[in-house]
């Protein structure tokens, strides 16, 4: 750094002690940006090497260094919003492990703007990804049993398709129990997890739709304010504004079936061909969404039900 004499006369410094007991000297104006440090200074700590401010345990030296970089930039008053935003965007480009540590450290120092920034960044990482991808990125253990994942949280409605689906779940569960009994207590490292079981919840689907549509609702409201439109939105609005999701009609069921086929194919045995048939038919017709699909669906159901019913109710 600089020579002692001039630097000390121009700037005030505080002493900070991190979790590993190492002590650092930091410009006061930078450190004061953190409310925690500010409070400590006001209670008289940190003015010399013998009485350093003890930082919370979640703040280790690399995190402190990052946080100080952030403070050093933002505590300068003259910066424009654009500059700050630009800095923030570059600042959060780091691996997720560090992002998590940084969030935690910033939170313990009560540095709210940085906590907001990092949590938003983490949310962006999670957004729209499949569970497998998320587990991979964050190193989450895949330790929910197949059963727990399968547990249907959603109530069955009187929709025959849902009933069918639940019947398939029940069958799968039975097969799983059998499999467990047959196997030894080996740890299965790789659970075949192609199935996106989040499809159980009806507003979840495996392909991860992005949510561009939120703007629509705000715009719609604005229109109403100015032009005094009718209250009722026309029916065909449904297919146009959510065009991308039209293909998802019943995709929750489809994906499940699809994925259940690719994994554990040996176990399903002769259930397989019929499921494939069902899925393929469902998949094809959902690709072109039109009012006729409703009609086709009904016909199709009649076809599936008898065929599979036979197998399932064996």
């Amino acid at each position: 750094m600089y020579g002692l004499s001039t630097a000390h006369m121009l700037k005030a410094y505080v002493w900070l002690q991190t979790s590993d007991d190492s002590i650092q000297q930091v410009e006061q104006e930078v450190a004061m940006f953190c409310p925690f440090i500010c409070q400590e200074i006001h209670s008289g700590m940190g003015s010399s090497k013998n009485y350093p401010i003890s930082l919370p345990s979640r703040v280790n030296p690399p995190m402190l260094s990052l946080i100080l970089d952030y403070c050093r930039f933002h505590q300068v008053p003259g910066r424009s919003n654009k500059e700050r935003k630009s800095f923030d965007e570059k600042f959060v480009r780091m691996d997720t492990k560090r992002l998590c540590e940084l969030t935690s450290a910033a939170d313990s120092l009560q540095l709210k703007p940085l906590v907001d920034l990092t949590s938003r960044a983490l949310a962006r990482v999670i957004e729209g990804k499949t569970p497998e991808e998320i587990r991979e990125i964050f190193h989450l253990p895949d330790d929910l049993t197949e059963e727990e994942k399968l547990e249907p949280i959603k109530n069955t409605m009187d929709d025959p398709r849902i009933r069918l689906l639940n019947r398939l779940y029940a069958r799968k569960r039975k097969e799983l129990k059998e499999r467990e009994r047959l196997q030894d207590a080996e740890i299965e490292e790789e659970r075949s997890d192609e199935r996106s079981v989040d499809d159980l919840l009806s507003f979840i689907n495996g392909s991860g739709e992005d949510s561009k549509g939120t703007r629509n609702s705000k715009n719609k409201k604005k229109n109403r304010r100015r032009k005094d439109q009718h209250k009722t939105a026309p029916l065909n609005c449904i297919s146009t504004s959510n065009g991308s999701s039209s293909r998802n009609a019943d995709m929750d069921k489809d994906s499940y079936e699809h994925n259940s086929l690719s994994g554990n194919s040996t176990v399903h045995g002769n259930l397989l061909p019929n499921l494939r048939y069902a899925t393929k038919l469902q998949g094809v017709e959902n690709d072109r969404f039109s009012p006729e699909d409703e009609f086709d669906d009904c016909d199709l159901e009649d076809d599936i039900d008898p065929a599979l019913k036979e197998k399932i109710d064996r």
Binding site: S104, H139, L144, L201, I204, K221, L235, I238
Partner: protein, 419 residues
Amino acid sequence: MSSNVKLELDKLSNLPGHLIDKILSHLSLRDAVRTSILSSKWRYKWVTLPYLIFDNQSVLVSNQDQTLVKNKLVSIVDHVLLLHTGPIHKFKLSHRDLQGVSDIDRWILFLSRCSVKEFILEIWKGHRYKLPSSIFSYQKLIHLELFNCLLKPPCTFIGFKVLKSLDLQHITMDQGDFEDMISSCPLLERLTLMNFEGFNRLNIRAQNLLFFDVGGAFEDVSFQDTFHLAVVSVGLYENPGGDQNLAFGSTCNLIKFFACLPRVQRLEVQNFFLKHLSAGVIPMKLLAPCVDLSFLSIRINFNNKEENLATLCLLRSSPNLKELEMLTRAEEQGTGRTSADPFENFQSFSFNQLQLVKIVGITGSKKELNFIKFMLSNSPVLERMTVKPASTDGGWELLKELLRFRRASMHAEIIHLDP
């Protein structure tokens, strides 16, 4: 990878609960609930989310069968609410297929036990949904937003004591109920009203009101004790008509309107409101000038003499005006009156702070040109005047006239936009 190593690498799951909530609150409700299958630790992390937003993204089924969609939505809300635990700070329900179903009553009752701070309900279709009385007991409410609802507070209603922001659009309510509600929300700062039925006199009594935006059909709008009101936007959707039931010589509505708006900074006079304001005897200028008024937007019919006078009065009472916007209303053309144009003869006034002027929808009539001329010659610090005609007719004539006008400001630019 052995599970021990994985445990060390997994920094995310061990973050404190409030941080996980923070992260999940930046996701859509769908994505947040999906995290429940990530791992055993994540199974119930989402259930403490303080923000629950059910909108068109929550049910991604574009099934044309409305009953099916509606049932799905009801089922989802039920399940989420049942699994949820802890306070709910924000609850939003806005789905296009949601009608005023009785399930909403149930949810509102449930939420009354959850210290809700923000409540947004938008019924896109169907009749006005009558809100259950339990909603009037949300004592922690800070922001309330309702669309297409009917409000009938019970007689035990004491008001929302900490409500700061109220947004009511397409609502029905009694006159008395409305006034009582407004005056019993002492901390109210923002009020938005669009398209309301059941009351037509807006008597706004709110000491802390800062922002007021109204659009609808009403007879009168008046303020009481609103000394901090800074931003006002009023749109009268219906033409008040020639006969405004005012006795000859009575106080101008303009005066009454500004009586309680000493600190107004931004004002928008939209639709037919200027016509309403210009009823009565229009003074030369207001007794108390609007010293804080820096932005003014007026929808005007230049052919109407009273409206011109009212505008002139308002302009003369706004010495610190920085930005002016005039939008024309193209009706009642050619009243045939060739009465003296107030702007033609009035020369000695100076807008010392006016920097921006925008005029939209003009047709190049004499009155409009007089106004532009008036503005140009009385604005010594004008930077930019933007003119946008209504159509391409008479475009050249307009431009020719514009070129001729004297400008008080050396820096003034005149920008002519295409119609």
